[in-house]
Symmetry: C2
Subunit: 322 residues, 2 copies
Amino acid sequence: MSTQQHADAPAATHKYDPNFTQNVIDTCGPNTSPRFKQIFASAVRHLHDFTREVDLTPEEWLEGVNFFNEVGKTWAESNGKRNEMHRMCDLVGLESLVTEIANYVETEDPNYAPTSAAILGPFWSPNAPWRQLGDSIIQDAHEGQVTYMHGVVRDLVTHEPIPNVTFDMWQASSNGKYDFQDPAHTDNNLRGKFKTDDKGEYRLYCLRPTAYSLPTDGPSYKFLQAVDRHPMRPAHIHLMVTHDAYKPVVTQIYPKDDPWLATDTVFAVKDDLVVDFNPIKNHPPTGEHTGPGGPATRELELNIVLAPKGMAANNADPVEKK
Amino acid sequence: MSTQQHADAPAATHKYDPNFTQNVIDTCGPNTSPRFKQIFASAVRHLHDFTREVDLTPEEWLEGVNFFNEVGKTWAESNGKRNEMHRMCDLVGLESLVTEIANYVETEDPNYAPTSAAILGPFWSPNAPWRQLGDSIIQDAHEGQVTYMHGVVRDLVTHEPIPNVTFDMWQASSNGKYDFQDPAHTDNNLRGKFKTDDKGEYRLYCLRPTAYSLPTDGPSYKFLQAVDRHPMRPAHIHLMVTHDAYKPVVTQIYPKDDPWLATDTVFAVKDDLVVDFNPIKNHPPTGEHTGPGGPATRELELNIVLAPKGMAANNADPVEKK
């Protein structure tokens, strides 16, 4: 029961035991990893400060205990398919914040920055098929607008196009469901991996995306009701753009006229990720779309900027940082 | 996407989006209860500050997601009998802190304060039997020391004894297990409720308590290993002392010579709760102990001080406080 104040700890500004929080932190044994100890100390300090700040009552605390037990129960009962704790983190902005931190790059030219990151979400697949430039990712019938999507991937520093970039994308269908969620979809419907050509270009057919609702049952929806919020995500396409020599970009893009942009329930919208789906003017050299939905009616030009690996980035040595 | 800083929010002292946290807080709809909004805002602010403070990586965040899903799974798979989230809160001092806050009373005489509170823990029973003054709570065989426990319950303000107080107590047996946990115990072994007499006195037989370990499996034990901590609680007896006209005292008492006092893994020890189990000198008027273990060898005198209801206490109107 140490009574010394920790050098880094701010002086207590409350009426409760001033040594309590530091005593909890100081219980870490000598075999705690330095990084775990750093995370534990900060988490305990903020948890206790929160508790004292709102004078959390025993009844409120027990309500929280029950809530988080239910969150894990939802995960267990779905055999891990419904990751309710992941969703809860999204609903309070945590995944979006972690994503911002992981992708933070200091750039010298404020007008030329790497493409912003957005959350990965629970629907990426490591098994998406490789497709040829100009191919379509649309395998099944839909009620959406076929879109010709194309652009160039460039180097943040040299502004030169980057060949051989992996352009991995996935999206929900016009009913708001991913192939994982809808038995009516064939495997890998609306997923595909492409490689940029010698000019750093990619081109493919996809759907103009459709806004959808998160599940309206379970603990996460109870939470949304408690804070009087809607469960909608704006329409979006997921992207994972990677190359061995560059920092990967995992992101999402959103149609400019989507009504849920300003209130995305998982806080993943960034200004440079909002794009125009225009009436089509150009076509790929491989020809018009012949799959479900027929010829394309929309066109999306999206250029991507990647930062070379080794540029000032976060988490190079997290233990030393603080 | 409001860009205004909240009046109460401290200016951002980090390099990340300075409006992100306030934007998340501002999503609360008009039907959010004021108290829930207060708790949500403080929780989000501290969660985000923690995340930025340690530059939490996506991998670390996902490890946390998995951990808390496992916590809820443990609860679900035990049909709610093993409340792992409750235990996790205890291991980081949260239940102890909530207990301190709920029982905070400003007293004018620093030498005469209400008996300190300690956490309720998961083993209280609403069905403990009423017993007569001088009775024993020991029903089953044990290897502990039979103790004559007695004392007076007094009023914080008048210092007068309080008759008709309910003195509810429970403890683990000498094998470290409560009746709930051990099929070899009869129901309500080592539990009992007593009423103080006209002189505010209670008296009973119990065991000198035995230190025990929390479970050494499951997520909570994984956490203890990560922070290199032992799973021991000091020996203790649980008390719940109540009377309609007084603030209830839920607490625990600990033998002075217990080796785990300074490092109680749930942070429930307070100085005034550490007591002496002396060689026996007095006996109750109802006579010597005749149950399992035979005559008492130890004596514990414990006096209790209750604060009248209505004295300055926390949480009278939590919404208005902040």
